[in-house]
């Protein structure tokens, strides 16, 4: 007889009754039986709806036709139901691109893992596959890709390396190193003897190596029973194994987990949090090395929008209280530290710290119960190990180890029989925490506690270890700032505060804070702090270079140079960080040497297995600087691959794209200026597409759309450029960004003849910078002229000319304004009449500035020929800083006299000059485009 299943609860229904009405005794539904023996009530509609819903949410649609009784064994709380996604296994021998499936080796939270052969390299790999994503939603694919990307970024002996990732005929996959060994959950369940030091000793001798810091002499002592040493897999006295652990076994376990903590620390420093650390995801390789695998829930800290929205994903027993409580925003690297603590607890005691019959009970316990001290049940567990374990499992993340490296340090100290840095939680520590929270109110009390500390002596050792720990926190913060992003110090401010509260050493604190100040754009404060530091230690190389960098930002160029020179007499940079600061100090002055220094920093760090993305980013910035200042295409060849790699690594979302866009645009400008129009066009297009990709990669960053706008402008797509400027404006965070937007947008409107919009932007920019006569006077006058109101235009220029006190620069610019209006006589009259009344400002940072201003004035007044000006500019060390200005005024003279051809020639010369602020390129370019676009312009000047 055919079987009938209840469409509501899927239980089998006994159909002995001939009646058409059938009851399901499991769920109480009733339904009609049709001749085809299919249930035909409204439930059928429900089933269709359910199938559709499954499809809509990315579940397996064919589920109903398969066996339904997938049960979770009591001990396994892995994502058994999510593994329902993986019903369609790949068969043995099937190929996924370069990979041939050998067999399935496991299911993870996401996807199936196969043993596979990589054909071209003829090696075996573990291939993780997210099968048939047509059935999976966007989130699933995103999460899977994140996992691959996060793991691929890591390069550490304790992290399973990722070889390749790809997308082949509907299967997203990535290939990892195939680690032969067993996961810790298998070991806990079936082979606890593998965690004994004797086992390790036997294996390491069979492997002919001794990878552990375990004193050899004790290895053969206190041998466990023969049975436990060589158990068969199905006959293990689990409890006996655990209670017979020796001190060496515990040390061995600690040394193993120290490796895991190292791996975690590496991941954390790369912005990757594992979020699902548990015995299942840690493999003890046959090489006796620990491997972290399955960054299944990996959450890239640099992509905050990718968090799972409050969804509880991990196994509840290993969840941190902040995960279990659903406070996703509080999850940080300390969540992993917690979960590793739970793993340690289970390895040591054989039990999980929090148990319950339901998931909910476990979650409740995780959130609210204190873990039972380990020694309460097994007294042989060393106290220090208990201290370490309980500390990692503190409910409050602040009370856990601040970093995984701090945890590794303590585990290693324990393993090597040295005193650990953590202390058993004492009333003093609780008191200290209380004081920290109520600092202002209880200063007096803090003093008395401090006195107590001095008088009792043993507490002094406590505060010493606390200081060491504070220093470790600071080291972490410093690492992050130097290696990843000093421009975002807000990420580590809390850590620094904590370290300060815990009594970190003053010198370290000053040093890290000075870097924070630099990142926040306060070089003055950086210098102040570093001076204090350097008073005590005048040969602090990193501090010296950092100071030189800060001095440069303060525009104290000579002092900056002399600090760099002084540091060189001390032997120059030694550490990667010192090389990095040196490069920052000379970035603008000597971009070639800076690029080299950044590279040294990066390579040295790389040799230590450290990732130094900030050095890579700056290598590219330095090459862009070379490209800009020297117009050398060699720099393009250097900058491009570095940036491409950063894009590939997904570091600095958007910034790398943005810099690539600039690299291509600068190259395009070189091609344009050297007459290679095709190549220029191609490069402008590429620059545009990188900028657009930057916009996609970082949709909230204001910079990529500004780069899009610049490229579109170069390509003559002014309308689109305006739209990009509008987008950039909507994303601007600082006034500085908005003002820069007006600066570039008004002329786009102006070129297109949108005079109202142009004037609005001019006025907005004038509101940003009331000191710029171009925006307060000259350009409003230009708009008046375009509208045919020369009287109003003239009045504006007169206002500039008559501004008190008279200065040379106001007069020169007013003359420029008159010339723009075609009033050559007014220009020369003004300059000659003011000749003896104007003051010349001096700028000591530019050697010939004074002389330059006088010559320029005379040239504009018509009393000195252009050649004198040119010769003077050429005599300077940096002729391009002056040439732009000279050609600009020459262009205006030609324009006022009605000689358009000569004017165009001169303005083209301004474009080829690259003064630092690019002001005259900009101002000359404005007129140049107008001249080229409209042969009758300017209508108010007779040819």
């Amino acid at each position: 007889m055919a079987e009938l299943y209840c469409p509501s609860c899927e239980s089998r229904i006994d159909i002995t009754s001939p009646s058409a009405q059938v009851h399901c005794y499991t769920c109480g539904s009733s339904m009609l039986r049709s001749d085809s023996q299919e249930a035909t009530t409204g439930h059928v509609g429900d089933n269709r709806l359910l199938d559709d819903l499954r499809e809509a949410f990315g579940y397996d649609v064919t589920l109903r036709d398969k066996t339904r009784r997938v049960s979770i064994s009591a001990s396994s709380d892995d994502h058994a139901w999510t593994s329902r996604h993986t019903l369609h296994a790949l068969s043995v021998g099937s190929k996924l691109g370069d990979f041939e499936i050998i067999r399935e080796i496991g299911h993870g939270g996401m996807g199936v893992v196969y043993r596979a052969r990589q054909l071209t390299l003829n090696r075996e790999v573990a291939l993780k596959v997210l099968p048939d994503y047509a059935r999976h939603g966007r989130q699933a694919v995103r999460r899977f890709r994140n996992e691959a990307r996060a793991a691929a970024r890591l390069n550490h002996a304790n992290v399973v390396p990722v070889y390749a990732q790809g997308d082949f005929e509907g299967h997203y996959f990535y290939a990892m190193k195939l680690v032969e060994g067993a996961s810790l959950d298998q070991i806990i369940k079936a082979q606890p003897q593998r965690l004994s030091s004797t086992h390790a000793a036997q294996h390491s001798s069979s492997l002919n190596m001794s990878p552990f810091a375990i004193p050899q002499r004790t290895m053969k002592e206190e041998l466990p029973t023969a049975d436990a040493a060589h158990p068969s897999d199905d006959d293990i006295n689990h409890d006996a194994e655990i209670s017979h652990r020796t001190k060496e076994d515990y040390r061995y376990i600690a040394s193993l987990l120290a490796g895991v903590a190292d791996g975690l620390d590496h991941a954390h420093k790369h912005g990757v949090i594992h979020r699902d650390i548990k015995p299942h995801n840690i493999i003890l390789g046959d090489d006796l090395q620990m491997y972290i695998t399955d960054f299944g829930l990996a959450h890239l800290t640099s992509e905050p929008h990718m968090t799972l929205s409050g969804e509880i994903m991990g196994t509840p027993s290993y969840l941190s209280p902040e995960q279990a409580g659903g406070s996703t925003s509080e999850i940080d690297h300390r969540t992993d530290i917690y979960s590793l603590g739970v793993t340690l607890f289970e390895l040591v005691t054989g039990e999980r710290p929090f148990i319950g019959e339901t998931r909910d009970q476990i979650i409740q316990a995780v959130c609210h119960q204190e873990a039972t001290p380990l020694r309460r049940n097994i007294q042989s567990i060393p106290r220090d190990l208990e201290t370490i374990c309980l500390r990692t499992m503190e409910k409050d993340p602040q009370r856990r180890y601040p970093t995984a490296s701090a945890l590794a340090e303590d585990l290693r100290r324990f393993a090597e029989g040295r005193p650990i840095l953590s202390r058993h939680v004492t009333f003093v520590e609780r008191g200290a925490k209380w004081i920290r929270r109520h600092k202002a109110a209880s200063l007096a009390m803090a003093v008395s506690v401090a006195l107590l500390a001095v008088s009792t002596g043993w507490v002094a050792s406590y505060s010493l270890s606390q200081q060491r720990e504070a220093d470790l926190i600071l080291d972490g913060a410093y690492d992050w700032l130097v290696h990843s992003n000093y421009r975002k110090p807000e990420v580590v401010l809390d850590d620094i505060q904590q370290a300060q509260d815990m009594g970190a050493s003053m010198a370290k604190l000053l040093f890290v804070q000075s870097l924070v100040d630099a990142g926040q754009g306060h070089p003055d404060r950086t210098i102040e702090k570093l001076n204090t530091l350097l008073d005590a230690n005048p040969e602090h190389i990193e501090a010296l270079y950092m100071k030189a960098w800060a001095l440069w930002q303060q525009r104290q160029f000579d002092q900056s140079r002399s600090v760099v020179a002084f540091a060189a007499t001390l032997g120059g940079p030694i550490t990667p960080e010192a090389w990095f600061f040196r490069a920052l100090a000379i970035h603008y002055d000597d971009p070639d040497s800076a690029a080299h220094s950044y590279q040294v920093a990066r390579n040295m760090a790389g040799a230590n297995n450290q990732y130094f993305p900030q050095a890579s980013l700056n290598v590219a910035r330095a090459y862009n600087q070379i490209l800009f200042a020297r117009r050398s295409l060699d720099a393009f060849q250097e900058a491009e691959p570095v940036l491409l790699q950063l894009v590939k690594d997904s570091f600095y979302a958007g910034t790398a794209h943005y810099l690539l866009s600039i690299t291509y645009r600068l190259a395009a400008e070189i091609y344009r200026d050297t007459g290679n129009a095709d190549k220029a066009d191609e490069y402008f297009q590429t620059a545009l597409s990188w900028a657009q990709q930057g916009e996609l990669a970082a949709p909230l960053d204001n910079r990529p759309p500004t780069a899009v706008a610049t490229c579109l402008e170069k390509l003559g797509k002014l309308e689109d450029a305006i739209a990009a400027r509008d987008r950039a404006e909507s994303l601007a965070v600082h006034d500085r960004q908005r003002c820069e937007g007006y600066y570039y947008r008004w002329r786009l409107h102006y070129w297109l003849g949108h005079l109202d919009e142009a004037l609005t932007d001019i006025q907005q920019h004038a509101a940003c910078d009331a000191e710029d006569p171009f925006f307060t006077h000259i350009y409003p006058a230009l708009i008046d002229a375009e509208r045919g109101d020369l009287t109003a235009a003239q009045a504006r220029i007169e206002a500039l000319a008559n501004r008190q006190p008279y200065t040379a620069s106001d007069s020169i610019l007013a003359a420029a304004g008159y010339r723009l209006l075609g009033m050559e006589d007014a220009a020369t009259t003004l300059l000659i009449s003011h000749q003896n009344q104007v003051s010349f400002l001096s700028d000591p940072s530019i050697p010939i500035y004074d002389q330059w201003q006088r010559s320029l004035y005379d040239y504009c007044a018509g009393t000195q020929p252009f050649e004198v000006l040119l010769t003077l500019a050429q005599s300077s060390e940096t002729p391009w800083k002056f040439l732009g200005e000279a050609y600009y005024h020459a262009g205006l003279k030609a324009l006022a006299s009605g000689d358009r051809v000569e004017a165009i020639k001169k303005f083209e010369q301004t474009r080829k000059s690259f003064d630092d602020t690019a002001d005259f390129r900009y101002n000359g370019g404005l007129v140049l485009r107008r001249l080229k676009a409209d042969p009758t312009w300017p209508g108010w000047i007779a040819p």
């Binding site: 509501s8 709806l49 559709d52 589920l63 339904r68 329902r84 939603g137 966007r138 009970q361 909507s730």
Partner: protein, 198 residues
């Protein structure tokens, strides 16, 4: 068209207001999956599909300024399809000259309407989108555990017993969760015009 349309118009209005960044996120939340799946269904790789979703969102973000949505002209759903098809097309001819982004001010709604109805893939994805919308809009009426049980059991296919164990409710609550949620989804779907934009 009642409620569904008005929610939808609110979203469009909020999209127009650029300072309201939530509008954008909501748009992605509501239509991202639809656009993504459709793009994938038409052979786009993950990266391309993600790009397309973002591009369409960006177009709308940009284009909504001054765009008066008029339900009589044509359905938003048809416009959305044209936008995603267009974006896919732009990717297909990436190396060649790219056509300009789709301008909703000069948009042929009648043609889009015809194309949309003739596109079975789009219609199917739209139905899926409607279902997601329906389930999400009734989700607030249920306790978290009920929803979890529904998801794990009814959608994920875990047995009743294991679901009960995993979620921490009784087996009869698992059955109830399934029928109650399903019932509400059905009622929600029945309450709106099958053609309405959601």
């Amino acid at each position: 068209m009642g409620t569904a349309e008005s929610t939808h118009i609110t979203l469009l209005l909020r999209l127009r207001d650029r300072s309201d960044s939530m509008g954008w996120a909501e748009f992605d939340e509501r239509y991202g999956e639809l656009l993504y799946r459709y793009a994938r269904g038409r052979g786009a790789k993950h990266e391309t599909a993600e790009d397309v979703v973002q591009e369409v969102t960006m177009y709308l973000f940009k284009a909504m300024e001054g765009f008066e949505y008029d339900a009589r002209k044509g359905r938003f759903r048809s416009y959305l399809r044209s936008a995603v098809v267009h974006a896919l097309g732009r990717r297909a001819v990436k190396e060649a000259k790219q056509p300009a982004p789709l301008d909703p001010h000069a948009f042929d709604f009648i043609r889009a309407e015809k194309e949309s109805s003739a596109d079975a893939k789009w219609e199917r994805e739209w139905q899926m989108h409607r279902l997601r919308w329906a389930l999400k809009s009734v989700a607030d009426e249920f306790e978290e555990k009920t929803l979890k049980a529904f998801e794990v059991h009814a959608l994920g296919g875990l047995s009743v017993e294991d679901t009960a164990k995993q979620v921490g409710i009784s087996t009869s609550s698992v059955y109830q969760a399934k029928s109650r949620v399903l019932k509400r989804v059905k009622a929600k779907l029945d309450s709106i015009d099958p053609d309405a934009d959601v």
